[in-house]
């Protein structure tokens, strides 16, 4: 294998010199609008694959959590079909995943434990393979429930949701190098306004700012939702804060009150922009986090999503590359909404469509013309019976209407519950691996 790789690279380098300029690609802000700005390569044209990190369902197929690859190139003969699946041999509440900065790997994990799975997507982007499983997160940090996997140069910053002691929401972040070696951990701030809870993290490098949000611990997110919402004491154990960190020093600078479990964080990708948005799940509000003229960060509620009295549960948001639009998925009512963000201080809903009986993640292509939606929130929070649809649905977006393009029924295909998505491309094959033609 190595000899093949070497021969290819030997040929490729002079060929590159003859055919094209050897590029030293600069850092670009944003990936397909919501990834780490340190991700090496944007897919600015048509993506070929959607990787779906999928929760296993006992009795359905092999029952394991798995990485599913779906062909989403409309010109392909296998458009809308499953190309591969990589089971990890456990069922541990598969949830989120993230690329390393070189986009050679996807790191993914489950909220029920602390294992982190590392997949190679560069050797053959259509057929990822499990490279290794990182098993020392809990032992090294005391944190469990790895949620967000965020690329820093040569490293991955992993945001956990819970801890080994009481399985509550007080937790922290762990830093690994891209080889999977543990480097350091950072507890979420407790006291002086900090509740210690965590959920998502996102970086604005030009401001040296790391922003974190907050959800709840294992003891809550693993309980059946119907039972949980009747438990008044348990419902008080949700995060109500966001924290701005000094990214370079990895020290918390400011704790901001953002009640109602602020979840996904999306920085504006416009160069020079100094704001991010998030959605508070329990209050159904959009919040703006912005740096003021004095350099201090301020959080303020700027819009309402649906009817908060009906608890629509906004579960994912996706910002457009120009920072002027925001997709919002709400789990309970199955609505996909579009907000005009031209004035981030006053977002206005301009479109909505019922896209499923239950909804979770939403991702868009860099050009905004394609939108992908999945169905599963958490195994014990998903709906039951006919409402428990499990799917990946692809849509086209012309600025006015979401039009269905394809669907993969994850139950019929015996895959499981479809959760987080990342986009892939066949042209992002690494030079180290020879193309097989």
């Amino acid at each position: 294998m190595r000899l093949v790789d070497l021969r290819f690279l030997s040929r490729a380098i002079p060929a590159a010199a003859a055919v094209a300029v050897l590029l030293a690609a600069p850092l670009v802000h944003g990936d397909e609008t919501c990834n780490s700005p340190y991700i090496a390569k944007l897919i600015k044209g048509q993506e070929d694959y959607v990787y779906v990190w999928t929760l296993g369902v006992e009795g359905l197929g092999d029952g394991w959590d798995k990485l599913v690859t779906v062909d989403v190139d409309p010109k392909s003969k296998t458009y809308g079909k499953v190309l591969s699946q990589v089971p990890v041999g456990t069922r541990g509440e598969a949830h989120h995943m993230g690329f390393t900065d070189d986009r050679r790997q996807i790191w993914a994990g489950g909220l029920d434990g602390s294992d982190v799975y590392v997949f190679d997507i560069a050797t053959d982007p259509a057929r990822p393979r499990l490279l290794k499983t990182i098993k020392d997160l809990a032992a090294k940090t005391g944190f469990i429930g790895p949620h967000t996997y965020y690329a820093l140069p040569g490293r991955m910053l992993v945001q956990a949701l819970s801890n080994t002691k009481d399985k509550g929401g007080v937790t922290g972040m762990a830093l690994y190098n891209n080889q999977g070696d543990f480097i350091a951990s950072y507890p979420m701030p407790v006291g002086n306004g900090g509740d210690g809870y965590a959920y998502d993290l996102a970086v604005n490098p030009t401001k040296n700012a790391l922003l974190t949000s907050s959800f709840t611990g294992h003891a809550n997110y693993m309980r059946p939702l119907g039972e949980l919402i009747k438990d008044e004491a348990a419902m008080k154990r949700f995060g109500n804060t966001m924290v701005v960190w000094d990214l370079k020093a990895m020290k918390p600078k400011q704790v901001m009150a953002v009640p109602g479990a602020p979840l996904e964080i999306r920085w504006s990708l416009v160069p020079g922009a100094n704001w991010a948005v998030t959605a508070a799940a329990l209050t159904s509000k959009l919040w703006l986090v912005e740096q003021d003229a004095k350099g201090q960060w301020q959080a303020k509620e700027v819009a309402t999503i649906g009817d908060p009295a009906k608890i629509p549960l906004p579960v994912d948001i996706s910002i457009t590359r120009d920072g002027k639009g925001l997709w919002v998925n709400t789990f309970m009512d199955g609505m996909t909404r579009y907000f005009d963000l031209s004035d981030p201080h006053a977002p206005k809903q301009t479109y909505e469509k019922h896209t499923g009986r239950q909804l979770n993640m939403i991702s868009q292509s860099w050009d905004g013309k394609r939108v992908y939606i999945t169905s599963s929130l958490l195994a014990n929070w998903d709906k039951a019976g006919p409402d428990n649809e499990q799917f990946l649905r692809g849509f086209t977006w012309d600025g006015k209407e979401l039009t269905p393009a394809f669907e993969v029924d994850f139950t019929r295909e015996k895959l499981g519950r479809a959760h987080h998505m990342k986009l892939g491309s066949k042209v992002l094959r690494t030079a180290y691996a020879a193309p097989r033609r």
């Binding site: 490729a12 030293a24 490293r155 030079a431």
Partner: protein, 244 residues
């Protein structure tokens, strides 16, 4: 004869004095930090944060501009090293040329303070052994190579892809194969994302800069942080071993 620890303490003190002097005159977040746009934030003070040992710098064989085969470690140990991969034919202004400009600025700044010259070194290592021969690297280095009395700046290449691969893989410096989707034809093109590696005296990568953080001011702060660490820990090789 001065001991190594003593020399580190002296150098760190001089460096701190130099930074203090800088702070009294130009350095603020809104001032131009050529050759980059001004930083939009005030970096944390040197020594107030930790630079973790991210990984060991890989070992491998390289070629000097004189055509000698050497171990890379000869150029990445005993001093604080800034290493960047380059192509001499790179045209992207935010890529290799940017790294060259930043290295040039750092060299000038450090040389203005003789006590620092023996503490830091620069390495530009080519990705492109097929084109970047030792003589090409010598031309690329230009007058920088002749400045014998200044900060050491090594311009290195490799004999072959076989020699190059362990280095790019070991540093995690991605090199991508690509295709031209517009024509549907396989156009073999390589690209990489600019990364510069800060390596301590013991050979550990302590920071990785992409273009956003490739600011002389940030880098100088990190160099001072490492010097302060050396001063407090003594022999960096011993401290690195004990930390693992």
């Amino acid at each position: 004869m001065r001991t190594r620890a003593g020399r580190h303490a002296l150098v760190a003190s001089l460096f701190a004095l130099w930074l203090a002097g800088r702070a009294a005159v130009p350095a603020s977040a809104d001032q131009p930090d050529e050759p980059r746009p001004p930083l939009e934030f005030v970096p944390p003070e040197p020594g107030t944060y930790e630079l973790h040992r991210i990984m060991r710098a890989p070992e491998g064989r390289v070629l000097t501009v004189d055509g000698r085969v050497e171990a890379l470690s000869r150029f990445t140990r005993e001093r604080i090293t800034l290493l960047g991969f380059i192509y001499t034919s790179c045209m992207d202004p935010e890529g290799c040329p940017l790294a060259y400009r930043v290295f040039g600025r750092l060299k000038d700044e450090i040389e203005a303070h003789p006590a620092l010259r023996d503490e830091v070194q620069l390495v530009s290592l080519s990705f492109d052994p097929a084109r970047d021969s030792p003589s090409v690297m010598k031309r690329y280095a230009g007058s920088r190579l002749e400045e014998d009395r200044g900060l050491r700046w090594f311009f290195l290449t490799t004999r072959s892809v076989e020699d190059l691969l362990p280095l790019v893989e070991g540093f995690g410096q991605d090199v991508r194969y690509s295709e031209d989707r517009s024509t549907g034809l396989p156009v073999r093109q390589l690209s990489h994302v600019l990364k510069v590696f800060l390596i301590d005296r013991a050979g550990y990568v302590r920071e990785i800069y992409t273009s956003t953080f490739l600011h002389p001011r940030s880098i100088m702060g990190d160099i001072e942080t490492l010097l302060m660490e050396q001063r407090s820990e003594g022999d960096p090789a011993r401290s690195a071993t004990s930390a693992r």
